[in-house]
Amino acid sequence: MKLSILGARVIDPSSGLDQVTDLHLEAGKLIAIGAAPAGFAAVDVIDAKGLVAAPGLVDLNVSLREPGYSRKGNIASETRAAAAGGVTSLCCPPKTKPVLDTSAVAELILDRAREAGNTKVFPIGALSKGLEGEQLAELVALRDAGCVAFGNGLESFRNTRTLCRALEYAATFDLTVIFHSQDHDLAHGGLAHEGPTASFLGLSGIPETAETVALARDLLLVEQSGVRAHFSQLTSARGVALIAQAQARGLPVTADVALYQLILTDEALIDFSSLYHVQPPLRTRADRDGLRAAVKSGVVSAISSHHQPHERDAKLAPFGETEPGISSVELLLPLALTLVEDGLLDLPTLLQRLSAGPAEALRLPAGKLAIGAAADLVLFDPSTSTVAGEHWLSKGENCPFLGHALPGSVRYTLMDGRISYQA
C-alpha cells in the first residue's frame, strides 16, 4: 500500500511538530513527513485539508467484555467503537471471565483482536490469581503471552504484606503494576461520593479517604519495592496532590484519569440517573478542578475512557441495584476536545495526554508519529461536531452523553496504514 495524506495540520506532541504538511505511508509504516521520498508514487490519496492529523489515540482502560460478558460487549464490537473514537491502541483490564490470569486467556484476546483488526490490543494481566488478592499470578508467563502491565482492579489486596511481595516480584522482572487505589473497608457498600449530594439522595457514601488512604499506602510500598507503578482512575484533588508530591520527591510514578471525571461531578446524580453510577465515584467540583489542573500540569499524563459497556438491564433498576460504568470509548476524541473548547488545554497538550502520555506510562510502541514506525493515525475535523449516538457501535448504550453535540469529528482512523474507521 502507498498512501499520501495531504494538507493536514500534523501534530506530533512528542516531537513538538505542529505544522500543515503532508504524510506518506508505505507498507503500513510512516515513511516521510513533508515532501514525498524520491520515487514514491501514492496509490491512494486522502485530501486532508482542514483536518488535523495526530498519532492514533492510546486508551489505557477499555473493557472489551470478552471472554465472558457477551451481553455487555465483545472484542469485535468494542474495538470497532474504539476506532470510531480515534483509538489505535488500547489496553483491556484483567476482569474477564475467566480472569486474565493465564496465558490462554491472553492469547484468546490477542487472536480475537487480530481477527477484528480494528485496534491494537495490549492486555493488562491480573496481579493475583482470580483477582482475589491472595496468590500471585504467573506474571512472567502472562508477560510472554502479551500482557504489558499488571493490576488488580478495584479489588484491593486484603493483606498488605502479600501486596508488598507481589510488587517486589513484579519489580524483579521490571514489570509495571497498575494501581486502582481504594481502601476496601472505607469504600465498602458505597455507591456515590460521600458528600452533600449522596446525603441528600440517601445513597451510602465512599469518602475521599477511601482513595487517599490507599494511595498513601500504595505510594510508600512502591517506594519500598522499587516497582514501576502507574496509578489509574484517580478521582480526588487530594489524590492527585499525593501523586504530585511523590513525583516531586523523585518517585517515577505516572497517573491517568477517566475523561468523564474531568467533565462530570456528583451533582449529576441528582435525579438518581444510573447513567452516572460509576466506580470509583464522581466527586465534587473541587475534585474535578483538581484533576483538571493535574492534567494540565502533567502530573497526570494520560486520559483514558474507562470504557465499560453494559446491557440495558444492568442500568434499568433502582440506583443501588445497577452496575457501575459508562460506555464512551467511541466518543474519546470529541469528548476530550471539550477540554480544549473550555480553554483548559491547547490542542497539542490534549493530544499528548491521549497518545504519547499513555504510551510512555506503559512503555507501549504507540503514541508517536515517527519515521519508520507503524502508521497509527487519527484524522479529525476540528470545525464540525459529532452528535453522540447517531451511529452507535458499542454494544453498551449506557452513555450519558448520547444526544449531545460534541466538538470535532473523527474522519479517519488508520492502524498500520490501513483505514480502521472512516466517517
Binding site: 452533600p196 449530594t197 446525603s199 439522595l201 440517601g202 445513597l203 433498576a317 440506583f319 441495584e321
Partner: protein, 334 residues
C-alpha cells in the same frame, strides 16, 4: 448548584399539579399547603359514621411493598378503601425478586392488570423515581418510602400534626432527634419544615448518625440533647435500629438512651406545651421513655389518624393530576 436548587419536574404535570408523589423537594409551599388543606377535609370525612367517599370508585390502587411494613401498608390500604378504590397489596419479598423477575417486569405485569396507581415501598434510595421514569407515565406513583431518601407521606402527616396542634410554622422551633443519617423520615421532615417556613429546625444526634453536608437543609446541628431541646415547641423522635450497634456507629443502646433518649426530665427543658412525635414503631427505653410516649405531650397516636387523611389527599391529588395531564395532552393533540 446545590441539590436543593435543582428542578425536579418529574412528579408534576404541566400545570404544576402532582401527578406522582415521590419526594418533597422541589414542591412549592402552596402545593404543600394544598395537601394539608385537602387532608383537613378528609379528616372531617373520617369523623363521620360513613367514612367513605366515592372519589376513586372504579380505580385500582396497587400497594407494592418490597420492604415489610404493617403500619404504612395498612394506612395506605385504609386510605384507598375510604376513597372507594379497589385495593391490591403485593408483598414482594426480596427472595422472589432474586428469582429473576426484575422490578420493572413486576410493575409492568401489574400495570397490564389495569392498575391506576402504585404505592411503592423499596429498600433502595431512588426506587420511586426509577419507577416513575420507566413505568408508563400514566400510572401515578406514590412513594411509600425509598431506602434512606424520602418518605413524603410521613413528612406531610408530621406537618399536618404540627399544624393542627400548633396552628402554623412561622414561629416554631422543631427538633428532630436520633439516627438522621439513615432516616428518610428526617430528610422529608427537614425539607417540609423549610418549605413551610419554620425558622428554627434542629437536628440532635452523635456525629456518627449525622450525614455529611446536613447544613444544606438549613438546619442547626446539636450533639447535646439538653442544649438542642431548649425551648422547642415540637420534638420528633426517630427510631434507632439494632444494626447501628453492629455497624460500629454506636457502642450500645444503653449509652444512646443515656445521651439522646427522651425522658420526662429531658423534656422539661422544652416549652411547657411542647408536643412529642414519633413515626413509629417506638423502641421504648431506647429512644423514648414510656412515660413520655404515653404522656400528655405525646401526639403519637394522633399521627396515625392524620396519616390516613394525608394519604387520602395524596392519592386523590395524584390521580387528579394524571387526569389533568391526559386532558392537556389530548387538547394539545387536537
Amino acid at each position: 448548584m446545590t441539590p436543593l436548587d435543582a428542578k425536579r419536574p418529574l412528579q408534576l404535570n404541566d400545570q404544576g399539579q402532582l401527578r406522582h408523589f415521590l419526594s418533597l423537594d422541589g414542591l412549592r409551599r402552596e402545593l404543600l399547603t394544598e395537601i394539608l388543606d385537602t387532608a383537613d377535609s378528609f379528616l372531617e370525612v373520617g369523623a363521620r359514621a360513613v367514612k367513605k367517599v366515592p372519589l376513586l370508585r372504579g380505580k385500582t390502587v396497587c400497594n407494592v411493598f418490597f420492604e415489610n411494613s404493617t403500619r404504612t401498608r395498612t394506612t395506605f390500604e385504609m386510605a384507598a378503601q375510604r376513597l372507594s378504590a379497589d385495593v391490591i397489596t403485593l408483598n414482594v419479598s426480596t427472595s422472589s425478586a432474586s428469582k429473576g423477575e426484575t422490578l420493572l417486569d413486576t410493575l409492568r405485569n401489574l400495570e397490564a392488570m389495569a392498575a391506576d396507581m402504585f404505592v411503592v415501598r423499596h429498600g433502595e434510595s431512588g426506587a420511586a423515581h426509577f419507577i416513575a421514569e420507566h413505568v408508563c407515565p400514566q400510572v401515578a406513583i406514590i412513594n411509600g418510602g425509598d431506602g434512606r431518601h424520602a418518605h413524603p407521606t410521613q413528612g406531610m402527616l408530621d406537618m399536618l400534626t404540627i399544624r393542627r396542634h400548633k396552628g402554623g410554622f412561622e414561629n416554631l422551633s422543631v427538633a428532630i432527634v436520633g439516627d438522621i443519617l439513615h432516616s428518610r423520615v428526617a430528610r422529608s421532615n427537614m425539607l417540609a419544615l423549610k418549605t413551610l417556613g419554620c425558622p428554627d429546625i434542629r437536628v440532635i444526634a452523635p456525629k456518627t448518625l449525622l450525614p455529611i453536608g446536613i447544613e444544606q437543609y438549613g438546619v442547626k446541628v446539636y450533639t447535646d440533647l439538653a442544649e438542642g431541646l431548649k425551648d422547642v415547641d415540637v420534638v420528633i423522635m426517630l427510631r434507632l435500629q439494632r444494626e447501628r450497634m453492629t455497624g460500629g456507629l454506636l457502642p450500645s443502646e444503653g449509652e444512646f438512651y443515656r445521651l439522646f433518649g427522651l425522658t420526662t426530665a429531658r423534656l422539661a427543658g422544652a416549652k411547657p406545651d411542647c408536643i412529642v412525635m414519633h413515626p413509629g414503631p417506638i423502641n421504648r427505653g431506647v429512644e423514648i421513655e414510656s412515660a413520655v410516649a404515653d404522656g400528655p405531650h405525646s401526639v403519637i397516636l394522633n399521627q396515625v389518624t392524620y396519616g390516613i387523611a394525608i394519604r387520602m389527599a395524596v392519592l386523590s391529588m395524584a390521580m387528579s393530576g394524571q387526569t389533568a395531564q391526559r386532558q392537556f395532552d389530548q387538547e394539545k393533540a387536537k
